[in-house]
Symmetry: C6
Subunit: 84 residues, 6 copies
């Protein structure tokens, strides 16, 4: 299973110290898949300028983030034992 892709999971783990870090990771995971699918930095930058100004795309980005976060939150047992 070798692909010419960038790293897909930073630090190779889903465990984070806090929910805030988990949220950052969720955003990062989604972006890294886009990067693997479209490796051309210039193309990605151009597309990003488009979707950051389009309500529908912004909602789609938040949608994907919500799904990635659900996995990360479960992996961290929802950070129940931290920050109380």
């Amino acid at each position: 299973m070798t692909m010419n892709t960038p790293t897909l999971v930073p630090n190779n783990r889903l465990i984070t110290t806090t929910a805030e870090e988990g949220r950052h990771l969720a955003i990062k995971l989604a972006r890294l898949v886009v990067k693997a699918t479209q490796p051309d930095e210039e193309v990605r930058k151009r597309l990003r300028d488009v979707y950051a100004n389009d309500a529908s795309f912004l909602i789609q980005v938040s949608h994907v983030t919500a799904i990635e976060f659900a996995t990360i939150a479960a992996a961290n047992d929802y950070w129940r034992n931290t920050n109380r």
Copy 2:
């Protein structure tokens, strides 16, 4: 993992006292991802005026909220032991 983003998880935790607060948090989480993706307040305000008047966007917002809420509700063990 440093990004110039606003806080993504208020109070840095998913645990809330009630389901009502959990629902507010779900809405908030979705909005904060949009804010991180499009930091320009003016652009966000303009897009918001658009989607608040479009049935499809409103349904998409409720869709994302439902997913965020699923995670929060599970984190709080569905608030089974409160408000009975």
Copy 3:
């Protein structure tokens, strides 16, 4: 966490007596998010007249309801011990 929003969770709990009530709650939860996002009654009524006649919107409404219901059903342990 104070927002000028209507109540988002009726009775502030996800626990219902039956699956039927759980289904009603799922529909209600989705509608209350729309209400919080677009507080103007007139606008909502106009949008509703549109989507109630559009197959795609109706499917989207059923989609969101399905997600909300998944959370409610799990919260109620799927009502396994009732109505048998």
Copy 4:
């Protein structure tokens, strides 16, 4: 919680004898939400004629069914102990 809606959950339960029945229930649950949202039989029939001939709508219908079924299957512990 009184709405002028039809029954939303046939027999008021998610428990079924087999996976096949669970699948029927999933389809039924999705349809009953559409019925509650658009009670006009004539309108629904017209919309149905449209979406049954549109690939995108058919995929959306299968999408919603998949979500409803996930809930029903979990409620029934995936019918692990039946039909083996």
Copy 5:
């Protein structure tokens, strides 16, 4: 609960021997809902020719398959004890 639909769950169970078979079942479950919604073979064939050549439809098909597979995989405890 009698509908003039084809079988919706082959063999009436979600348990499969391997992950590969589980994946086939996921594709099959999605197709059978489409078949139940649009029983006309000719219409389905025509729609299939359309979506098999449209990137967006292909992604939607993979999306629904992913959801069905999530259910099947959980039902089979992810085939953790097989094929190691």
Copy 6:
């Protein structure tokens, strides 16, 4: 259950050594369903050139990947005991 499809699950298992490999598998699973639905290599290549330059498609690809990954991550107990 015999279809003229390529392998749908590489190595016929969801268990991977690391989260990074799990992420690769998620991407792979989604692609293999597309391959099974549209076996013509030339058509797939043409569609791929399109969607790799379209923001909406890229987000959809990341969406499906997120769902497949949720299943794989759960199957691997979120790789909690590895790479710490």
